[in-house]
Point group: none
Chain length 405, copies 2
């Protein structure tokens, strides 16, 4: 068959935008000679990653782009963060994202405990001294972050966060659904929260911090409760051996739960100063051993959340230069897209469709002259949904699943 044999899916996190001035988005403003060249040779389109008018989370967006229906597998972000920090989560577990925080008289003084950097002794104390009526796993992560997993039957993710999200009172978790599982889970979370405070308040690490004038890390705020889904392994579903190259815990965690190989990149931070060149080198290597590579590049999202048009534009130009080092030819289907719009004027994810391009053997090239939201809206792919992207790509490899005879 005369078809491509590999897929490279490049997700420029939050890179899509709305026009900010002179009807220009960062994609339209930035100098993108490499992406423009791919666009001229490929086919473009716009994509509702979740659905029209629905702002995707990075989690639900990546699930969709990998062909997992978020409606079926997603109840919260926790499971993917827990997977990333190396917890061997199992279907049925309820997993949470956690922050070490500073609490005084029941009020959250700092959600990041003064951006504490080393929490391993505190985490060890939690693991030793907290005792719940269910099995739990607690693991510290980078900086002030952590993951918490409840295991055993009769649990539910339908509970509220203990994290007040803005500095405020430490919250009690409450069930958001009727029934024993949600009540039991909320009670376990509140038990955990109380015992953590008791355990950490006088911990030597915190005593030292207070003596040094630093904020003590004396509480854990939990959020993003989710039931760990059973993701059919990506390779089993698609026949493609997959690798994920990313800096953000979430994307790495999704990849791990989908059974992908995670290829770490030194200096990849998820910020605008991230080591994109290192990621591109990793992609070039991964394409020699894998038939599907997911590359997530995160900085544009951050600039969007900051409302910084110029930073976003400059970052995209840097990304273009880095991507021009990709060793790809017609035998690789290269997809460039974003997981969502992070509009500079909104400083948040928005539901506008994202642009995408597909380059490689078999595509009906539409001969548009560049890559941005405006060209993409004229593209030969027209408008598709995120969940449809992977089947379209698999079909371009000549491996579509025929329905009928």
């Amino acid at each position: 068959m005369d078809v491509a044999s590999k897929i490279l899916l490049v997700v420029l996190d939050g890179a899509a935008d709305r026009p900010t001035f002179e009807n220009k988005t960062p994609f339209r403003s930035a100098s993108l000679p490499f992406l423009d060249q791919l666009a001229r040779e490929g086919i473009l389109g716009i994509m509702d990653v979740i659905g029209p008018g629905t702002p995707p989370g990075s989690d639900t967006a990546h699930l969709s782009l990998l062909g997992y229906s978020p409606k079926d597998v997603y109840s919260g972000r926790g499971p993917f963060e827990a997977a990333e920090v190396g917890i061997d989560v199992k279907p049925g577990d309820i997993a949470f994202r956690g922050n070490f925080a500073t609490v005084k008289d029941g009020r959250v003084v700092d959600r990041r405990a003064g951006r504490i950097s080393d929490t391993h002794l505190l985490a060890e104390a939690i693991r030793k001294q907290v005792h719940l009526d269910a099995e739990f796993i607690f693991k510290e992560s980078a900086g002030h972050r952590a993951a918490f997993v409840l295991r055993g039957g009769g649990l539910s993710p339908s509970i509220t966060d203990t994290d007040p999200h803005r500095a405020s009172a430490l919250l009690q978790s409450k069930p958001t659904a009727a029934g024993a599982p949600a009540e039991k889970t909320a009670k376990l979370v509140n038990d955990f929260t109380r015992q953590v405070c008791e355990t950490l308040n006088d911990h030597p690490v915190n005593r030292k911090r207070v003596e040094a004038g630093e904020l003590p890390a004396n509480a854990i705020l939990l959020r993003g409760a989710g039931a760990v889904p059973h993701l059919v392994p990506f390779e089993k579903r698609t026949g493609l051996k997959a690798a994920v190259i990313a800096a953000t815990a979430l994307v790495i965690g999704i990849g791990k739960l989908a059974g992908m190989d995670y290829v770490p990149t030194v200096g990849a931070t998820g910020h605008v100063d991230s080591n994109i060149d290192g990621k591109v080198t990793n992609v070039n290597n991964a394409l020699k051993t894998h038939s599907f590579v997911l590359l997530n590049i995160k900085g544009a999202d951050e600039a969007g959340h900051d409302g910084d048009f110029n930073a976003k534009t400059q970052f995209l130009a840097r990304v273009d230069t880095a991507l021009s080092r990709l060793e790809i030819d017609e035998s690789t289907l290269t997809v460039i897209t974003a997981d969502h719009t992070t509009a500079v004027g909104v400083r948040e994810h928005s539901g506008d469709p994202v642009p995408f391009l597909v380059h490689g053997k078999g595509v009906r090239a539409d001969q548009l002259n560049g890559f941005d939201e405006f060209f993409a809206a004229q593209g030969g792919m027209n408008r598709i949904r995120g969940i449809d992207l992977l089947p379209v790509l698999i079909d371009l490899l000549g491996k579509g699943q025929k329905f009928g005879a």
Copy 2:
């Protein structure tokens, strides 16, 4: 009302493609003055006949284009082939496609019994001498082909074929679903297969064939088991009196099951040498007595399966010439499309969207300059699904089913 009153749906079987060289498909390469003219006056679009990235079968595709959801009515191809050979199949019947074949020592020597041409005496013997624990209908068709139907309660299409598809051992049918119906059906199929071998082995027709050095037709291979669906008659659903003009059993059978009148065409073979002119004459006549005509023209699919770009291109040019004799004006909504892509580079059905055009009164003409996959992707209809085509056409006739007040 100032609307068209009839619909002509022309399905160029497997005619859509991917670009093979210089970004050209057969549609783009072929000289198509008539289709180009229709395109200039009509509206274009692309269509996911089943869904994005899903390669349609010809069966599921035609069901969709006629407004029957394949997910609801399709379990296998057998029912449509059985309907075509004139078996009065009923909802609940399990129907199969069959081949007369040559089996020696349990191995399939030839799947078509030396392309035997006259099987009516053998079929008669099967009908007389085979006795099953259920009612069955067996009917010979053109050449080595036949249809087999099991009737009665407690049956299921969830069984494997006895046809090994490539010359190999004759297979035992096995249930593919749990439960008594599938087990019972597999047992009936295996009983049938065994008794057919016993009946045909020493049949005078086969003795003569062996004496003449020909392969005996001493077995029936079954495949494509499907439960006969209840298709609400097309005329009842749409108010349109419908005719089908086609060469392939499958399309004719779908038309018959939908209650359409079948208008046979002498010399219509379903191959690239088919009598397209005869079909066009039949269409012109049928449009005088019917308000919906389905015309299927098959040769391009065959050329696609053969990977023959030039044959496909030349066939499409011939089709264009033949179609230019259509007696249509603005009062007929003329639709030109394909049921699926049969990509020359893949030699199989693929899931790429097909181009379509709608010509006639009421369409918002998009003034594109020709008919092919590339123009269609810029079309005013944008991208729709196959199941949505018929409602759009019915609505253009001013007969849309209003939802609300």
